[in-house]
Symmetry: C2
Subunit: 310 residues, 2 copies
Amino acid sequence: MRRSCLALAMLLCIVTWSSSLAADPAPASKPKFRTAQQIIDAAPASAWRDLDPADTLYLELASGRVIIELAPQFAPQHVANIRTLAHDHWFDGLSINRAQDDFVVQWGDPDAGEKDARPLAPAKDHLPAEFSVDVAGLHFHALADSDGYAPRVGFVDGFPAGMDPATGKAWLAHCYGTVGAGRDMAADSSTGAELYVVIGQAPRQLDLNITTVGRVVKGMELLSVLPRGSGPLGFYEKPGQRVPIKSIRLASEVPAAERTPLQVLRTDTPTWDAQVEARRNRRDDWYLRPAGHIDLCNVPIPVRAPPKAK
Amino acid sequence: MRRSCLALAMLLCIVTWSSSLAADPAPASKPKFRTAQQIIDAAPASAWRDLDPADTLYLELASGRVIIELAPQFAPQHVANIRTLAHDHWFDGLSINRAQDDFVVQWGDPDAGEKDARPLAPAKDHLPAEFSVDVAGLHFHALADSDGYAPRVGFVDGFPAGMDPATGKAWLAHCYGTVGAGRDMAADSSTGAELYVVIGQAPRQLDLNITTVGRVVKGMELLSVLPRGSGPLGFYEKPGQRVPIKSIRLASEVPAAERTPLQVLRTDTPTWDAQVEARRNRRDDWYLRPAGHIDLCNVPIPVRAPPKAK
């Protein structure tokens, strides 16, 4: 059964890439090795945290729900503005206007800046740039691995982050799924009304050049498959090509029965460190050579439905 | 005109990401800086090379043509086998069977290993693993930047590559668009009949663990938008979900009138080094902080239609 065999091989290869995969039993000859998935499956309840509905956005598309965790610890004023916009139903009926291959999808008001533009009020139309914050106020859990773009990298409350001990600053890094606030030429020209999500190779050169506001925790596959726009920068050339946004709501403002309960693996526990190490040095039978390294943006952050009460 | 302004800002931000964008004139106050696109636009003809039809595969889908450059310098026996399979029309009528978000799409015979499997002959059904080659036989053009996965990185004839001076070995790295040969548990179980393409964050942990055979040089956006499979590892669960392959042909075996003439920017010239530096340290007005670094897999390799003879 070559097909099953191949599937198994690729399972071993990829088992740590998807939290939805069943664990693969380790062969008896290597009793001490556990895959990342096995470590995650065996994690205590305390290794997980519930997503806070007040920090969770639901982006509703015809194809389903994209779930974004907001990062007020990195961009408090932008996140506050996005909360206001969502509360005000400001995004509803707007559209995804851009999909650039190996880079970003982006949504907002296609008429922004023109006479038909949707007014932002009561949200603010001007905010300071929030490119970085003082690391002193954060719980920064370091990753031991080197990084070309930042002196140090790690995780802050579930967000991949860069940090510079020389400046004392930290920032939410541009990885797959990172959500940022599009801006104009001026550093302080973003409001959170125009948002983008990374759908390709981590564009880390954007770090410290733009305000990042959160991360897609579930539903990336609804954004990553959108047809790429044929205009410059992947903008859709015809209005009919834009992807309608049914609504963007804070989970806390959606009736409880309509929410998607979700838990995210904590990024500051022994479970976390152990599963990162299992990805850094994969020792299952498929791998001949453990990498000995993992890049910040190669560490997926598992989510799950909360286990049913017993 | 906020919209135009935003588009301009993002153009400046992204201008180096797409070879199809018009160059943005540098402001007079910074006369010495040229964007990567400006450098590419001003490149001499010698900075470009024609894609060799004998090393070029056309993967024909209903949505269009995906163009793959084969890398015989990294995997001579696999590439020879793939050439035989293409010559024999072996792939025609098969399908893309897997699309895993942020990882790979993969195609081949969905019945491989079963009684309805398509026989590989006259192609070989067994090949040695070709995970790396002697760097001594390659033209390795180094990238100055550090890398977490390899002691050194650079480019070989248009392919991103890792290299280890201690072993004298080099390998084609797993970046966005890299094509590899799926294998079973045994290192020497790939034949080139099952191929995958990276559609997400570079899975560099696969380097030196599997045979890589080439790179998609044009048409990635036809693969990256495929609906993700809902089965384990992103396999499509129903045969009707698979994406049919009309044909895979060597360009050299396609009538000249049906070919897509293409030039690829050489990766070993002063033009190349200059445009890499312009991406490593972006100094246009949009950027407040040049990154001072570029990852191997963040360097796109521009292609163009050959200029018309004057």
